[in-house]
Symmetry: C2
Subunit: 517 residues, 2 copies
């Protein structure tokens, strides 16, 4: 049995005691096991702070960018190996796996590019200088400097490559060492990437560690210069946020949690039009890509009341072509969910939705998967539901079913009604609106913006080059208010803010000038 | 007996039951009393959200700026009345009172100016557009829009005017209604300002409410679009941060809490030089202004080991000239602390410091105040201590004594040693460094920056126009990491970030252009 170790304090350490298995979710075969029992987490954080931190802070942005470029290169070089691991351990189709793995290398490369642009600086200047005295001699500026602790990244099971890469890119470019903790169930991909980075000595010692397995008391050792970034369930997020040391020592916490992402079909969009096709393609992609296990997937589809039947029919036709089965088999378009627990949660979620909605496609998600031993695997088929009254279907706005499940909800053709309905989700990562109408576009974007970290406007003119609302880009913010956790990741330079202290400096203009020379 | 009411849900409401007294801390005379028992706090928040929010969001930045200018004008018009209230209820000297009250009107006026500059916009554009597709047609932008809830401001007893003004300026300009809760003990000034604003109808109904007295269950009703900003003790901050709804609904919380602000005398600064004089003046001002009850006051003074005696002597000479007594009396330079509880805390703090330090001036703070009935008033004299070993004097780095108390600590002449010692405070609002040496200035600023929200560089060339590190400016960030709470207030446009949702919007360039037209 392959045993996964953690890389902490400069060496690979296997935990003691009973190990947790990692499965192939299509066959239930055990692929590896891991434990972190006995790992010295306080020591691991201290090593990152005292070795990795100073090493990264000693580098310019351009030099840190080169580190990220090297990581991107290592992932790209091992692409086929990583895809195979993702198919086996994640239930990913090849397309799903590429989405995750190429997403990781693309994000690292994007931040490498930002590093090149920032060049030989080590300190970022924030905004313009201001005069703070009677004369221009006495000035104030704002600078951003790396926090002097460690960034702990607790990632979700659905993006083992991208989750590592997108968070590490921002932290390392900002000058902070990273301790990454992938979800245990799908850790093979993350573990292999970190192995490559360590084997090839791509980063200074202490700049990247990995905790493969339970986090133990790791988070209780976080202090005032450390940072915690978490992606996962809102329930776990609450526990992390409420940790005594996190509260008492003002540890910055970035949360990316549940989100009932919405799509709004504009009243101007006629069946068969470009925007209509884009809308249908985006909804179906979001339902089925990674078996709906995307934090950005569309869960609620708001449709002008008069178009509900047409939308139901168009989406059902497309969903009917999706082949569910072992993603290693040819022709399979959607794999299993990643764990037995996920399957149980998805089934419970469908039941909860079913009590307030009507079936459109896939009923309760029962499916006979292709190329899978009978009775094996954690499979659920695509499920589309509909509600007659969007406000009455409260579960649809409260319960994120983290699988290939979505619900159609009617609205009254006005942007105000659609925005108010989206707001019932209490804060999301992304909302999309499909329209070619300038006025509706403005009204719906301004209506959606307070409640969503990203708004995607689908229209005829960009349809040919869109990757859909579910794709997170390095240049645009990822995160959302309320239920979505209130965090902000990525967005170019913005993604580094979490890892930097912004400090005002006031003094004689000449002395201030000397700071960055 | 004057009874203070709360202004909530569009009317003045007196609480039922036993009222809490507000005192004159110099004479212990009761000036007024207040209660909030029975006040409908859930209704108050709802009123602000549904009446005040839409009214403010309907205005342009320039129009919101005009509201702030009117508030600034009202405070300025009532300046003498407010000063008298601050002297009576806050233990303020006339100078202390002006610092608070003029600070409020200046900050409101500064944000009014920002409003004028932003003009007819209602939405802020954050950064440059980015291309997100193959062609320039498909773009991403970031916008900042007002959060659609209410901003609750819980303020500290020491700045009843400025605390209201600086927080309200940022929230109202951003487009959010405010419910302000001043500290009960010194609420007379805040209460009078809100009375003026309401009487004169300077703001749209629902844009400003005041809770005069206990907060009851106010904070338990905060939701995902609301904001909480708190200034006060780290102990209370912990309680607020840990509230179930605040954690579960990702309510943004800005904390400005304890801070062991440091001053560092550069090794190049010779006794008698301009920078030396500035240093001495700043330390003494920070110790005695508002009787040391300033969150930005200098608590730890780091001195090159060889200069400890000279600094002790120079500061003692200046402190000896400070007359302590009833601030209403002529010639008095320092009043009492604001409450009996504060006096008890300060006395306990001095005791704790005394166990690890030696007396330089004022011993334990016993003082016979001028123009005060015998045995009355909550007085403590200026206390300067010194430690032989800066690292051994652990209490000095951990315990903020919120009164006219400071400690001299030696360092080894290197910026690295000074910065490491400052960091023992685990995060502060402001640190100051006095030097005319370009290299020392750079090293100390970059060493202090990760641990402090603001760094003040005192030097010969700006000495004549400096107001010292204790003065918070509207244009520079106020807040600090770790023990200081991890918050950010003010800093011009930056001060509005807490009250805005930053949202990425991606779509066809033409449609995006329509958003802000």
């Amino acid at each position: 049995m392959k045993k996964l170790a953690s890389y902490v304090s400069g060496s690979w350490v296997e935990g003691a005691g009973a190990a947790r298995p990692l499965h192939n979710p299509a066959t239930e075969e055990v692929l590896a096991e891991t434990s972190t029992k006995g790992v010295d987490f306080a020591g691991a954080l201290s090593h990152a702070r005292t070795r990795g931190g100073p090493a990264l802070r000693g580098l310019t942005f351009a030099e840190r960018g080169e580190l990220l470029q090297a990581m991107a290169g290592a992932i790209h070089d091992a692409r086929e190996e990583l895809i195979a691991l993702a198919v086996a351990n994640g239930g990913n189709t090849r397309g799903d796996a590429k989405f995750d793995i190429d997403g990781a290398s693309a994000t690292l490369a994007a931040y490498a590019g930002i590093g090149r642009e920032l060049g030989s600086a080590k300190v970022l200047i924030d905004g313009e200088p201001v005069q703070v005295g009677r004369t221009a001699r006495y000035q104030g500026i704002h600078i951003r400097v790396p926090r002097q602790g460690v960034a702990v990244h607790v990632n979700a099971f659905n993006f083992p490559a991208w989750g590592l890469g997108e968070k590490a890119a921002c932290a390392i470019l900002a000058g902070m060492p990273v301790v990454s903790k992938p979800a245990t169930a799908t850790a093979l991909v993350t573990h292999r990437i970190v192995e490559l980075v360590i084997e090839r000595k791509l980063l200074p010692e202490g700049a990247l560690s990995i905790v493969t397995g339970g986090a133990g008391d790791l988070l209780t050792h976080l202090g005032p210069q450390d940072v915690l970034a978490f992606t996962g369930s809102s329930q776990t997020a609450r526990t992390l946020r409420a940790l005594d040391n996190v509260i008492a020592r003002s540890v910055p916490v970035n949360i990316e949690a549940d989100s009932l992402n919405a799509a709004v079909l504009g009243p101007d969009v006629a069946p068969g039009s470009e925007a209509w096709q884009l809308f249908c393609a985006d909804v179906v992609r979001d339902m089925t890509q990674k078996t709906g296990q995307k934090c950005t997937a569309i869960r609620r589809v708001f449709v002008p009341a008069g178009r509900m039947d047409e939308v139901a029919e168009a989406l059902s036709e497309r969903l009917a072509t999706v082949v569910v089965g072992d993603p290693a088999a040819k022709g399979v378009g959607m794999g299993p969910v990643s764990t037995a627990d996920q399957l149980r949660d998805v089934r419970q979620g469908i039941e909860r939705l079913a009590a307030q909605t009507q079936a459109v496609f896939g009923a309760d998600g029962e499916v006979t998967p292709t190329a899978v031993p009978a009775g094996k695997g954690w499979f659920v088929g695509p499920v589309l539901r509909r509600a007659a009254d969007a406000r009455a279907a409260t579960a649809v706005h409260e319960h994120e079913v983290f699988g290939p499940v979505s619900t159609l909800l009617p609205y009254d053709d006005s942007a105000a009604d659609a925005a108010a309905l989206v707001a019932l989700g209490e804060g999301g990562l992304v909302a999309s609106a499909y329209t070619d109408d300038r006025d509706f576009a403005r009204d719906i974007v301004l209506g959606l913006a307070p409640w969503n970290g990203r708004v995607y406007l689908g229209s005829e003119k960009m349809a040919a080059q869109s990757m859909g609302p579910g794709t997170v880009l390095a240049t645009l913010l990822h995160g959302g208010p309320g239920r979505a956790g209130g965090g902000e990741e990525l967005g170019g330079l913005r993604g580094m803010e979490l890892y930097q202290q912004r400090t005002a400096v006031q003094g004689d203009k000449g002395l201030l000038k000397g700071l960055t020379e």
